[in-house]
Symmetry: C2
Subunit: 254 residues, 2 copies
Amino acid sequence: MHSLQFTAESSSNGMIERDFTVGEVPGVLWSPASGIERAPLVLMGHGGGNHKKHPAMAGRARLLVTGRGFHVAVIDVPGHGDRPRTAHDEREIAELYRARAAGEPEGPIVVRYNAHLAQLAVPEWRATLDALQELPEIGTDGPVGYFGINMGTAIGIPFVASEPRITAAVFGQHWPDVLAEDAKQITIPIEFDLQWDDEHIPREAGLALFDAFASTEKSLHVNAGKHKELPRFEADSAVRFFARHFGRAVTSLI
Amino acid sequence: MHSLQFTAESSSNGMIERDFTVGEVPGVLWSPASGIERAPLVLMGHGGGNHKKHPAMAGRARLLVTGRGFHVAVIDVPGHGDRPRTAHDEREIAELYRARAAGEPEGPIVVRYNAHLAQLAVPEWRATLDALQELPEIGTDGPVGYFGINMGTAIGIPFVASEPRITAAVFGQHWPDVLAEDAKQITIPIEFDLQWDDEHIPREAGLALFDAFASTEKSLHVNAGKHKELPRFEADSAVRFFARHFGRAVTSLI
């Protein structure tokens, strides 16, 4: 088992940013600057082609950290961010660009490639959570959430299905083909986003994935608009979802 | 044209409640107790079998009034609250109870009866809005919203489709049969609630009604649960929806 090594630290506007590694996996941990106190942790999965510090990640982290006092961690998925691409990554990415240029459906390639990445990333997430819970400001007894859309959902659903420490999750915008079976194993509260006019994911596919979750508490948020037009206010909604389930349980370490 | 007559006034916990009539139609206007200032107005439609001061109405009004500084008005629908039932009302209600006791679908009766009530109620809402806008604290230049689920949607959709003064609306939980044609005329931002396990309204019917709106900005909130299990947090969401579209535009009269 690898422990967590901090490699850099900075802070701005009330948020401390600490880069870390767990073995070969690079990550970032954002925490409130107002003293490191024990608080709930939200793990976030970045989208395909992006990385752990993409503005969408940093923006959502700011809402959770400065707005609610939570800790937030993101790791780079294999082939993304600071991690090298394999020949397999290069082939799949080239295939995606080829399909896009030819006007062919991207779904089959994204579904296949993301499933491959999930097989690699799920054990990395588990090791990262093990290491994060050794930090005194996180610990093993606080609530842990997961928040990831697009590729963050393709990795998050198998991760959450096999990880009892996660007690609330926000997912969205993926196909049911590979994921529905794992979704049927998930019983924790979830919020799920889909776009009504998604040019890649048919409505029926998005609704089928939402339907698959076994959770008695599940909410679907559909918005008019295309794949990339998920409204900003859904990030606010996700933050409220975690706050509703985790409370504002910020307690002092001392 | 009837003007608005106030008939009673009380206040509690930061909210003034003023009963009124516009012609034969009884209503209630809730306003912030902290001085009557010009502020956005939200019209709310009550559910079938309920009335203008049902706890669901008063509770939502409190969120809008004390939380956001808005004015909120509700009127009794014909045959409801302080208004007499006609022989037609009695026949339809008896038919609904008979179907319910026999385990037959309620939908066809609710759809038919609510469409009848909407024909009566839409001109009453228009006259009520005319009269409310004569009050200095409301006026004709501020934003006006509409918020009604169930029967509040059956009346609200034809009202909003024919009423350009309404600029944002929250609807939900009804069938598309009668309403889809009017929904196609609606282009303002909407939020729409439906229950994923509704024992009366099939999923496909609820989704079809959401789909019918011509609005470029529309959000669907689906929650696991039966018809009457719409979560309380959807009222909070509706309030945020109006706040997002109307701002906190509370300006002094003076």
